[in-house]
């Protein structure tokens, strides 16, 4: 980005470089060791080896930077290949390149280059520590989802990275689980049910949620806070409680095990999302516009559709997306309220995980993740559009 050097780096003491790089080496060694059956040995070897290499690098000086970095990378590639074959080689190359850079980055204080000179060591540490922490959290959240994706292309019927897969051999990969999903009648029935239930539930949620949000935003409505609390309670009450309650209630009135029962239950779960997003959008809505419309003779319904609705549309749509995903991903309530005829995708996945661990579930999960990403991207684009519009609107 900007290449301005704010602080001129200088060589650091050997103990500092060896210590920090050794710590990083211990961390990396822990993973390599754990993968090879002995975490503690990996940790110790990693720490000592990296500390020694860092000390040597600092002693040899900056002149030898390029050859030394290449040597480190080459050594890591060979070591990776010996420990883990082709994938080990790739990981080794990444490790080697990183440590080659890291040793000089630490050893010559380059990490200070982009920071203002008056920061204390603690502030510098926090500056980078914070970024590493955020990266770890991000990794922690995303890794389980990402791991699932290659597994869904497994040629075998287990949740296992086979040796062929790890060697990147095409024979280890297959689309058969995707084929199974698209040809198996159980999965197709479940997909159909989800596709039939989610849109209608979303429509109901959006209609009622938007109306409720508008009502709750007008100042003359009494007990607004209490009503709001009741309406968003499905989001707060543990799902299993709502589900059990709905089961007994719907059974008595004959809705249990019916298509409309599931749609209604999902609509109830989706309404809070719509209320929250629409209420948030309404905060920025200028009420004098509706008064102006009324002044010009428009009735409230016309005012709503012509004036208010277009302006709060981004909020309505993002609420609708949340409601849709809620219904599409929901498993607890449908297990209670639905019967075998309303088996949805998550239900089928739940059964699959419990009764037969088949990577078809992972194929479906991958498809669902892709779908969710598409929906959330839409959501983000809409939000930006709404911000842009608000920025342009007067007042």
């Amino acid at each position: 980005m900007n290449d301005v050097t704010l602080t001129h780096p200088g060589q650091k003491p050997i103990w500092f470089a060896a210590g920090v790089v050794g710590l990083a080496g211990a961390f990396a060694g822990l993973f390599v060791g754990a993968a090879n059956g002995n975490g503690l040995a990996g940790l110790l070897i990693g720490a000592v080896a990296m500390a020694v290499i860092a000390a040597v690098a600092v002693l040899l000086g900056r002149k030898l930077e390029l050859p030394l970095r290449l040597a480190i990378a080459a050594a890591a590639v060979v070591l990776g290949y010996l420990l883990g074959g082709i994938p080990g080689l790739i990981i080794g190359a990444a490790f080697g390149a990183f440590f080659g850079w890291f040793i000089y980055w630490i050893g010559w204080g380059r990490y200070r280059a982009k920071l203002v000179p008056y920061l204390t060591p603690a502030q510098v540490f926090w500056h980078y520590g914070f970024r590493v922490l955020c990266g770890c959290i991000f990794f922690f959240l995303v890794a389980p989802i990402v791991v699932v994706m290659p597994l869904s292309f497994n040629a075998e019927d287990f949740f296992t990275f086979t040796p062929e897969m790890l060697a990147l051999d095409p024979a280890g990969y297959s689309l058969k689980h995707y084929r199974d999903f698209f040809t198996n009648s159980d999965w197709q029935q479940a997909l159909m049910n989800s596709v039939k239930i989610a849109p209608l539930a979303t429509l109901l949620s959006v209609t009622f949620g938007t109306l409720a949000a508008i009502g709750l935003s007008s100042e003359h409505v009494p007990f607004r806070r209490a009503m709001m609390a009741v309406l968003i309670s499905p989001m707060i009450v543990p799902l299993i409680i709502s589900a059990a309650g709905m089961y007994f209630f719907y059974s008595r009135i004959g809705l249990q095990g019916t298509y409309f029962g599931v749609v209604l239950a999902h609509a109830a779960l989706g309404i809070p999302f719509v209320i929250i997003t629409v209420t948030a959008t309404l905060v920025g809505f200028d009420r004098s516009l509706t008064r102006a419309a009324a002044n010009m003779g428009a009735d409230p319904v016309r005012t709503f559709f012509k004036v208010q609705m277009p302006l709060i549309l981004p909020g309505v749509i993002s609420g609708a997306l949340f409601a849709f995903i809620t219904s599409f991903d929901e498993v607890v309530v449908v297990l209670f309220v639905g019967s075998a005829g309303q088996k949805t995708l998550p239900w089928q996945m739940f059964i699959g995980l419990r009764e037969q661990i088949s990577p078809t579930i992972l194929a479906v999960a991958t498809i669902l993740v892709a779908l969710s990403i598409a929906l959330l991207t839409t959501l983000e684009l809409l939000r930006r559009r709404s911000e842009r519009l608000r920025g342009m609107s007067p007042g």
Binding site: D157, F158, Q256, S339, G341, G352, E355, I357
Partner: protein
Amino acid sequence: MKLKSAIAASTALTLVVSGAAFAESHGNMADSMVLVSWGGAYQTSQQKAYVEPYLAANEGVTATWDESSNEAVAKLRAMNEAGNVTWDLVDVVASDAIRLCDEGLAMEYDPDELLLDAPDGTKASEDFGDLIVSDCYIPQIVYSTTFGYRTDMVGDTPPTTVCDVFDTETYPGKRSLEKRPINNMEWALICDGVADEDVYDVLETEEGQARAFAKLDTIKDDVIWWSAGADTPQLLADGEVVMGSTYNGRLFSLIEEQDQPVAMLWDAQVFDLDGWIIPAGLPEDRLARVIDFVKFATDTQRLADQAKYISYGPARKSSAPLVGQHAELGIDMAPHMPTDPANAKHTFLYNYEWWADYRDDLDGKFQAWLAQ
């Protein structure tokens, strides 16, 4: 109270009426059924062996599966309480059938009236024999819970007895055991030197239970606990465990269909039954349909057909000679049956009634032990 007596009354009424309806044969039958089973390969075997042929022979009838057998008891209780039984036929293990029958949630039946005789004229009650362990239970298959081991992880001396599971010195590595006391307590006592026939007498006492837990303690750190039948096959395929218990049909599929380096350890396998129960209080038309279906699905040929798809033994004696070859692999199924003499050299007789009495108590103790 009112609801319950109303249900009881309607049950009695239905039974009388349906008996009459059935006598007139295909009079007033519902055209859809909800069948409850376990999912997986087992449900597929049922689908292929008798549901598909039945639907082909009865045009316009549909069958929907609900994979809820695992929690059949709890769900049937809830359905009964809510007054809305949506299931028509439920596949359960013997002990669950006994509980459901005791609670009045399953319908009692007369085997000789409801089920067909064997082709040679043997009465159904005799053909199924002792396997009808409850007045409500219509057995389908005999399966066993037994061990499989990785052939490439046991060296040159593959395990031969169930006690090798407790021998972590000769066979280092993790083992997978089911996360419940049933079977584990029995195996622990057998391997602690208790004779098979004394196991339940010993297990009745506090000292006996402590003894079983002490034996399990010796391998506790090496155990991965499973709760779904598919877990052990997955763990074995991964090489995460060196040996593990599961249902023999799952191991058959792992070895023969998935071609994994795994072998069976049949020693001290524990037989159990799987079969149908009809929920009590079904409306007349649905009951008539279910009875028609069950009559077909449990005849001698259909039960033998099921063994083409999964290595579970048919519950009818008359089906055994008809067991043939696997539908796709074309291998003889008889040597893979838990009841085959070569596999059944040492079997352990599981005591349903004993567990019906002690289950709640030991479940609690087992969970407490796990948490220690």
